[in-house]
């Protein structure tokens, strides 16, 4: 098992190298001028040139790349211009925020989409099937920033049900001691239920916004794979053996239908983690998505590189996790592995 994991990680190495190279090149092509930024508003061209030299930006690209990789090997991702902190520190504080939000959105999506997909498949062609299609598709049809703003407008501004969209906690709550970085979990560990409630309240709207987006792919895949499973011969056998509808749908059809759903979940998760950029902006959520976007807009290399690398590593880990999960669900994969 361990060697299997190690081997999988090894095969991901070229991908990571590719990501590092592409990101490096991409950030160097960005139009912004780091040196001009550092040199300040009134800098003379000579001053900018000097800063350039100091930052090593006057060297050739390959040389810059080598020093970047050297720093990377030491775990140094550089520093962000716009926050003034090291990228490692920024990502460490911000990743849990994004992960918590994304997971919450994903869980919400699953909780709604999977039963909806199953129902749509079981009652194929009925109104519930059409409803599932329309609801799921409508969710994915709205730009997230728009649906996010609408939710804020409605539930905070108009109705006053939701707390103000000011990040992970309202101003007068204190963040729980960081153990996992997830406020919900940390506050529970600390038995600080007031903070838990506050963090939970802050999480609802952004999670719903993201969840709406996750709905369509999950529901669609659940429906399709459930349909395939339901029309499979082993389900017919199960039916012919007189197994209860529940057993047929859950134990027989759904467990088999889960395989493609799990793959989709993985893709949706990595997609959401990158795409919650806009949601984070709307809800002032201090995550890495908005961090990376700001950095990109400001031509701030280091955070962009750090962010992409983090995401790539997450992606690799996620795929590994899915593979393991696959093995748990499907004995065929397990044995061959």
């Amino acid at each position: 098992m361990l060697s299997q994991i190690a081997r999988r990680l090894l095969t991901a190495l070229p991908t990571l190298i590719g990501v590092i190279i592409v990101t490096f090149l991409l950030t160097r092509v960005l139009p912004g001028d780091t040196a001009a930024y550092f040199a300040g508003p009134a800098a003379t061209p000579q001053a900018i040139e000097e800063v350039k030299k100091k930052l090593g930006l006057d060297r050739s690209l390959p040389v810059q790349f080598v020093s970047y990789v050297e720093a990377l090997a030491k775990g140094d991702l550089g520093a962000s211009l716009s926050t003034g902190q090291t990228v490692v520190k920024d990502i460490r504080t911000r990743l849990p925020a994004s992960a918590e939000l994304t997971l919450a959105g994903l869980v919400l999506g699953i909780v709604v989409a999977v039963p909806l997909g199953i129902l749509a498949a079981v009652r194929q062609g009925s109104w519930i099937d059409h409803l599932c299609r329309v609801v799921a598709t409508a969710g994915v049809s709205l730009p997230v920033f728009f649906s996010g703003l609408l939710l804020v407008y409605l539930f905070y501004y108009r109705l006053g049900w939701a707390p103000p969209p000011m990040g992970r906690l309202d101003v007068f709550s204190t963040a729980p001691n960081s153990i996992t970085g997830f406020y919900l979990i940390d506050s529970l560990i600390a038995r600080d239920f007031e903070t838990f409630r506050a963090a939970f309240a802050q999480l609802i709207l952004p999670a719903v916004t993201l969840g709406m987006f996750a709905l369509a792919p999950i529901a669609r895949m659940t429906r399709a794979s459930m349909l395939a499973a339901l029309s499979s011969e082993f389900v017919r056998t199960a039916k012919a053996s007189g197994l209860s509808t529940r057993a047929v749908i859950v134990t027989y059809a759904f467990r088999n239908a889960m395989l493609p759903v799990v793959t989709t979940l993985g893709m949706v998760f990595s997609f959401l983690l990158g795409a919650n950029v806009l949601v984070e902006k709307v809800f002032a959520w201090p995550g890495i998505g908005s961090y990376a976007v700001d950095a990109l807009i400001k031509s701030d290399f280091a955070p962009v590189q750090g962010f992409v690398l983090t995401m790539a590593i997450l992606y690799v880990m996620l795929n590994l996790l899915i593979d393991i999960l696959y093995g748990v669900i499907d004995p065929r994969v397990r044995i061959e592995a």
């Binding site: 001028d33 508003p41 009134a42 001053a47 003034g84 000011m166 201090p286």
Partner: protein
């Protein structure tokens, strides 16, 4: 590594010691109290550095510096007709200094004896010298700003005794004293900062980036970049009466609609970077109070690069000036929240002041005629650029201008430039047509013109405008200001304003307003030249 660890533990202790925030059990019941003693500010972006003398500190960072550091002197307040507290350009008051004595070629400050830094050590002349030395030495913006007051060398700052310091003039410059009251020459706890300096960072910039080390009215106790800054009152502040507000929490809320919503629902106390439309709406709704004050020494303008055709032709520039839809911009973009700078009787000014209005107004027929005279009867094609960072105002201005210019045959393509690249693009001085804002901290016409119109072609002379006459007038005004020759000064100022209007390399559109929206129970807003908030006077009832 060790240093970083130290920094972390240092800030943690500061946090715990300062407020007792760490204990949630105490915190929760006290929530209501905390709410009333806390001023909650929301804005789009936050600081990237707590020290204005740091490398690449952004504008929000200035606000932290202003409130956490004292300077030797500051300005008195005056009350405008509408009741707004407005800094008095000409009246200084002591801050860390208790006395200021000006001589012909120097100025001497006597420090307060009782002033201490936030760690308890007292403020000495050595700290002042070290801080001023730092400002003129570190390079970048602080050094540039110091040079605007003719302070460029460490030798200019002389320790007379433990509590007396003298600033020697290199040249006689009437801006030297005002320049000591801007944000840059704050006084740092040299002992503390030096302790945290390294060989590669002799001025301890890394330390002051993350920590405040001043004697000011507030200190930063928590800073989560791009998320929030928490300021706590310095209970031992000596620079003035103890501020009423115990704690200031400054949250970054990127979406403008949400900031407005927070204000309207009473969840935020103060916000100052909303779209003009929102300020107008809020004022009409009357739930929050809005203070609008024109930028001192600042204008929004449309600039033209005079080094290249077609804008090297003054008639073309005048044609553009006649084609700009000024009033439309005032109405549809600014909703009246700006001071118009167009449509004066003549280009020859009556007042010795800046900014003031020019005589151009929207007159398409005249613009066409001028363009024909310039040899472009059928117009031409060009590109107009704007800073995306201020797209809310810039984009509609450009769109309206584009539409208007099309009427005289000038086909304009709009080019939006991300905020981070804007300065780089300006520095290149190749954009033919663009809109931009310039404002100077030091509110003197010759100061503005020296940077924006002078032949030395500084970065702010974005048009690359060069004129011998202009240079002579600016030089004359600077000299006569220093020597106190009021008649020559007035003549020269009127002269260069008039020349700038006739040659019109940049077309002033309006003087923007600084708008601040506050809950009704928040008072004590003061307008400062730097346009950031001064927490010291703000009161939440």
């Amino acid at each position: 590594m060790d240093r970083r660890k130290f920094l972390q533990s240092a800030s943690v202790t500061a946090l715990a010691a300062g407020t007792g925030v760490a204990a949630p059990a105490i915190w929760s019941p006290a929530k209501a109290d905390a709410r009333s003693e806390t001023l909650l500010i929301v804005s789009e972006s936050g600081p990237n550095n707590l020290d204005i003398q740091g490398v690449g500190t952004n504008v929000p960072g200035y606000e932290a510096s202003w409130n956490c550091y004292d300077r030797l002197i500051s300005h008195e307040m005056k009350t405008l007709a509408n009741g707004t507290q407005y800094y008095d350009r000409d009246k200084f008051k002591p801050e860390l200094a208790e006395d200021m004595k000006t001589d012909d070629m120097s100025v001497t400050f006597k420090l307060r004896k009782d002033a201490t830094f936030q760690d308890g050590t007292s403020v000495t002349a050595a700290d002042v010298k070290w801080s001023l030395d730092r400002a003129v030495t570190v390079g970048g913006f602080p050094t540039f700003q110091m040079s605007a007051g003719s302070m460029t060398k460490a030798e200019q700052f002389v320790i007379v005794d433990d509590h007396t310091i003298r600033v020697d003039y290199l040249t006689k410059d009437r801006l030297t004293v005002p320049d000591l009251a801007v944000i840059v020459p704050g006084i740092y706890n040299s002992g503390l900062v030096k302790k945290n300096a390294t060989a590669t960072d002799p001025w301890g910039l890394e330390y002051t980036k993350q920590n405040t080390a001043g004697s000011g009215a507030y200190k930063v106790t928590k800073w989560t970049p791009d998320t929030e800054v928490v300021f706590e009152r310095n209970e031992t502040w000596k620079g003035g009466p103890l501020p009423k507000t115990k704690r200031v929490i400054w949250r970054m809320v990127p979406d403008a609609g949400n900031r407005r919503a927070l204000l309207e629902r009473g969840d935020a106390d103060v916000s100052y970077d909303l779209p003009n439309k929102d300020f107008v709406d809020l004022r009409q709704a009357g739930k929050v109070s809005i203070v609008s004050t024109p930028y001192s020494n600042g204008i929004q303008y449309i600039g033209m690069n005079v080094t290249k055709p077609p804008f090297d032709n003054v008639k073309v520039r005048q044609a553009v000036a006649c084609a700009i839809p000024y009033q439309k911009i005032m109405d549809a973009v600014l909703y009246g929240l700006a001071k118009p700078l167009f449509g004066a009787a003549a280009n020859a000014p009556v007042d010795v002041a800046w900014p003031q209005a020019h005589s151009y107004n929207t007159d398409i027929a005249k613009a066409k005629q001028l363009l024909a005279e310039a040899g472009y009867p059928n117009g031409f094609e060009t590109t107009m650029s704007f800073d995306l960072g201020f797209a809310v105002v810039n984009e509609p201005i450009c769109v309206l201008t584009q539409e208007s210019l099309a009427q005289i045959g000038i086909k304009v393509t709009l080019n939006k430039i991300p905020g981070a690249n804007w300065r780089t693009e300006l520095n290149k001085k190749v954009m033919p047509l663009y809109t931009n804002v310039f404002s100077g901290w030091l509110d003197y016409p010759e100061y503005f013109f020296y940077w924006c119109y002078d032949g030395q072609n500084s970065v702010f002379n974005t048009m690359s405008y060069q004129s011998k006459d202009m240079d002579a007038l600016i030089d004359g005004a600077r000299k006569s200001a220093a020597s106190g020759d009021k008649a020559t000064y007035d003549k020269d100022v009127k002269g260069f304003v008039s020349l700038a209007f006739n040659d019109i390399p940049r077309v002033p559109l309006y003087q923007p307003y600084v708008n601040v929206a506050m809950q009704k129970n928040v008072t004590g807003y003061q307008y400062w030249f730097h346009r950031r908030l001064d927490y010291r006077a703000m009161v939440k009832a």
